[in-house]
């Protein structure tokens, strides 16, 4: 992809981002922030793409840097999605027995 195409993709993606996000209700903002936060962990792919070349060049420091980068990216993704899931799980409408439990106690 040449630069112009890439910038075109970037601009269109920005509009998609605005459109999709502007519809989220206030109450879901924390999970939304957490969810988008997980998505930018995609930078992990960048680490995957370049580590092979650091190995090929026998660049030990480069390899260490990239292993840390991959670990960071993984934390971002795994932690981000899990924490969002936990938050959202609390919004699930639960059946009413909870009130009975309250009355029983």
């Amino acid at each position: 992809m040449d630069l112009v195409t890439q910038i075109g993709v970037l601009v269109l993606a920005a509009f998609v981002g605005f459109e999709v996000i502007s519809k989220v209700p206030n109450t879901l903002h924390t999970p939304l922030m957490s969810g988008t936060n997980a998505i930018h962990g995609i930078v992990l792919l960048g680490g995957l793409l370049v580590i092979g070349e650091a190995v090929g060049a026998h660049d030990v420091l480069g390899q260490i840097i990239l292993v840390i980068a991959i670990a960071f990216g993984t934390i971002n993704i795994v932690g981000g999605f899990l924490v969002t899931d936990r938050m959202l799980g609390m919004f699930k409408r639960k059946p009413e027995p909870k009130t009975d439990e309250g009355e029983g106690s």
Binding site: L32, H40, V83, R86, M90, F91
Partner: protein, 482 residues
Amino acid sequence: MSILATSFLQNRHFIDSLYILAVILFILGLRGLAGPRTAVRGNQIAAVGMAIAFVATLLQEGVVPNGHTAILIAVGVIVGTLVGIPAARNVKMTAMPQMVALFNGVGGGAVALIAWAEFRRHFPGAGGDWYTKSMIASLFAAIIGSISFWGSNIAFGKLQEILPGKPIKLPGQQLINLVLLIVCVGSAIAIAAGTHSQALFILGVLVAAGVLGNMVVLPIGGADMPVVISLLNAFTGLSAAATGIALNNFALIVAGTIVGASGSILTNLMAVAMNRSVPSIIAGGFGGGDAAAAGGGGAAGAGAGGTARSTSAQDAAIQLAYARQVVVVPGYGMAVAQAQHAVREMALALERKGVEVKYAIHPVAGRMPGHMNVLLAEADVPYDQLKEMDDINPEFGRTDVSLIIGANDVTNPAANNDPGSPIYGMPILEVAKSQSVIVLKRSMSSGFAGIDNPLFYDPKTAMLFGDAKASVSEITAELSNL
């Protein structure tokens, strides 16, 4: 046959198709997050998209050229998973904002590290094989990623109360920030111009940007932290997109940009709810102190208004039990005291006595939009009892008791009637319109914004001092004795 299959899997077009699929899943997932019913699935869809993008990248020809590379990748992914899963599983719901800050920080850190590695890779050759485009994009990623990493760590420290929430300022802060910015951009230009000591200058860029990230966030008060985290979230997204441009990776560009766009919207929304502008919040870091100084002045003025009346759990319980409608106004104090379950029990006790209980949720109550909703949902408070500000404000006139649990600034009438107050103009929950007000609070200290609250000196306000959870439990106990 297997050669055919392999070459098909490594086909550029096949990989790109997988990336497009992943991006579609991200967008569908985010759209799912728009509603409480579809949100859980939305998040899962986005996670599946991520898994597809991950596998597609590994399939790409030359990404895993040998076993050594495979081992390194496995080590990184396994370590990341082993750290990420327990962190996400064990974090308390009240500590969610700082966890998001931390996850955002490591994302920014990954961006900065990858940019650093890219520079190391291209130093020795110094040849024409590295496009200017990729270099500039990498420099951008290095600066923004580094700012995001360090800034997020400071935000985490402030919310976790490792660092004081109050603005920390150094003399000559502005000058220091300016120098750092110059060092940062200057080093970047030196690299772009083709200096011989690139190795030195890239470290200059990373370190200066990192210190700048610290310096910009440190002077910002804790109350503005959600806006800062949201802004840094958008930054990390944009830097991921820059990494995508540097590495010619479609998925990175699209996903990073979508996060950048959504983060910007959210940042703006949060700032608007606080009647602040994003530049003025960040200026807290650059210019420093105007808002804090004004806050001090306002406090002195309001404090002269009178004395606060304190009450007991027993009196509060009687007042609540004989009310027709009670509106609970939760704030950060409820989160800190983990009082959401106790609040739910008290509400059930009141409902059994025929009292109607509603919850008034200010858009910036707590440390993030939706923070209170998450906590109350955890305690099984029915979704329809949670009222947003615009819906509940007309109801305060008909409310007998407003019970404020650890909220302060979002109820401060000074925002409506004191033009000198730093929060003047911020939309608030108009609790002062209800028949009476009970405030549960640890002490008379001012809220996170550092402003005194005239509501506490209002004759119809009673203060119940103590830990929110203990106070609420006491009220519940007293209710059962009535």
